[in-house]
Symmetry: C2
């Protein structure tokens, strides 16, 4: 007998009523029956992205595909852009730009801290030719949230297009596409949206659309122009992941019933609970508390302990999946997610599993202390 | 009360035991549990592609994404290629090539007929600089199968790489990657493999790999080099459609149990049954019978009848989904699939539904005649 507990920052667990929809008989994607689901999902995503009039494109791909789609639809070779990064996923914008010969002006924050909006303002002043500014909503490699409201305010005063990777943050941490003037926001199905991985989304505003017409980078599968044309027929240009779209419609129903504001409040509370619990394990938090995000929490691995072993033992012995560090943080931090369909009891499972694993590895802690600290916050 | 019957050439119906697997709790894609499914699927796909040593890459995308991946991983701008097309999907190769500035030497057969291997041989002689030859296994827009054995034999004697779109034909119509010397074969999850749409596959042989290293077209999400690196870790570079991969493992079990040869024999029989049934409706077949494929059958719509109305009425009144014509055949043909999890009784549903619809539209036919003709073939 083995139970599994998924507390990774994507994929995240799926509510049974959503998962069940994936098993329904497949609909043909050029029928009115599918069209109804398609429109329901598009409208639901507009609610989640908090936009009234932006276009929403649904792509069958990982989130990375949606990120690439933003670059090929907005830019030309040798265009200059700003990438404001504070971790692995911010750096991915730079990597994709490099692939396409787009010139990157990099702003890099210390990992664990957020991007400084003033630096973006400064760089935009120095480089008025910059066409796009790329950054990240919640940077899950470190556990940080960026101040998109301020960044949106700054970029909107220039000709540049602001492009946000909100793959992990959407529906877990406040993001107001229209109010914050976010021109392009990309996301995925397997995080706050509580669905299986396989779908990605792009939310494109009016300031960005003229660039799409003029962009000369090559694109076929990721071509937003074809996606826009298909929407009027309630379709996608190519056969989409039908079963995932049908399950997403159910997930959006659940999200609407709870309401975005309630979800954000719940996730914020869980973040506080998680920070208290990890501290209760005598761990030091990794992300600066001033900018720690609400969708996952990172903590430093004690010296002389290999973080990869913590993750491995938790999974192999107890079926608990949390994440380790990525890139230069490999083995040095652990990351516990609390987005989507993860609740306080999932966190308690992770804490108690960690208690056992860490104490076995010689880390000093008091059994039950993480729960005591977490419960105090939860019940305050 | 409404039953649905899916007889479209993709997506196709899914066996319940496969669909059910989609609903299982999500596994994290960087775990050994997922790795086991991943390897099982890769090995299963090698069986289905009939290859011993080629690489298999799994992409989260529609089949079109896999087609695009072949072009960006093999070619440079201004390279010359041959596209041998006999329908909409053959033409898609040309469209993607045009997008990337790849120069296309086009061989186009009359729709309803197959590609002529001798024309490919001739064009290759005249154009020894050609780097790739692109063609289609079963062209579902017309219902034709191409002679890949002969084409493979011809192309293998040159330096050119043969690239096959087997999205609709794989696992429904004989395709021997190794024996027929097919250098690159792309396919998808939602046809003969009896899974939901959302996964595509690429099977790459040794002759093609050096081009992948040298190709200069830009690629990130579709980069085969990253996919190849990840395979050793039993992973994909980016979060894949986990639930679809888990369900594909189940589908591959079913396929292995029946055996490819038995599947091909069954599909061939169903093709004969479908041709007999459609003729029994007083319809004229569209594809030349000498090259009609086994995965779907096309028939001409009688004069004075709008083919789109047949498809619409069948779906709206009886829940039966068949396909109409695409491109220049819009409204002029109907297409009935018999691949994957479609059996003779599904075909009988389509025939009897068509009887009703066609007779209402004033087409002369005898009720029961299509079944009589189909049953004669089935029981012969």
């Amino acid at each position: 007998m083995r139970k599994y507990f998924l507390l990774t920052p994507g994929p995240t667990p799926i509510p049974p009523e959503v998962a069940q929809k994936e098993s329904l008989p497949i609909l043909h994607h050029r029928t009115s029956e599918f069209g109804e689901y398609f429109i329901q999902v598009i409208e639901g995503l507009k609610y989640v992205f908090q936009t009234q009039k932006n276009d929403i494109f649904i792509i069958t791909s990982s989130g990375t595909g949606a990120m690439e789609s933003a670059i090929v639809n907005l830019l030309n070779k040798d265009d200059e852009v700003i990438v404001a990064s504070c971790g692995v996923f911010g750096n991915r914008w730079e990597k994709i730009c490099n692939t396409y010969g787009v010139k990157v002006i990099k702003i890099e924050s210390e990992w664990g801290k957020s991007v400084n909006p003033e630096e973006i303002e400064q760089k935009l002043k120095e480089n008025p030719q910059v066409k796009c500014v790329f950054t990240t909503h919640t940077e899950t490699s470190t556990g940080v949230v960026n101040d998109l409201k301020s960044i949106g305010n700054i970029v909107s005063k220039t000709d540049a297009i602001l492009v946000i990777d909100a793959i992990s943050g959407l529906c877990g941490q406040e993001l107001k596409t229209d109010d914050w003037k976010l021109d392009v926001v990309v996301s995925g199905s397997q995080k706050g949206l509580m669905c299986a991985p396989g779908l990605s989304f792009v939310c494109v505003g009016a300031k960005a659309m003229p660039l799409v017409e003029k962009a000369t980078l090559p694109r076929f599968y990721f071509d937003w122009r074809e996606m826009k044309k298909s929407i009027s027929k309630k379709q996608t240009p190519y056969t989409p992941a039908v079963s995932l779209i049908v399950s997403l419609a159910e997930s959006i129903n659940i999200i609407k019933k709870e309401g975005l504001e309630n979800i954000f409040a719940r996730t914020e509370k869980l973040a506080k609970v998680c920070r208290a619990g990890l501290k209760g394990l005598n761990l030091e938090l990794f992300a600066d508390e001033s900018c720690a995000c609400n969708v996952l929490t990172s903590a430093k691995v004690p010296e002389n302990i290999d973080g990869k072993k913590i993750v491995k033992m938790l999974r192999e012995e107890f079926g608990i999946s949390i994440a380790g560090g990525q890139g230069k943080l490999e083995g040095k931090i652990i990351r516990v997610a609390h987005m989507g369909y993860i609740d306080q009891f999932d966190l308690f499972v992770a804490f108690t599993g960690l208690e056992t694993v860490l104490s076995r590895m010689g880390h000093k802690l008091e059994f039950g202390n993480s729960i005591e600290k977490a419960q105090s916050v939860l019940n305050s």
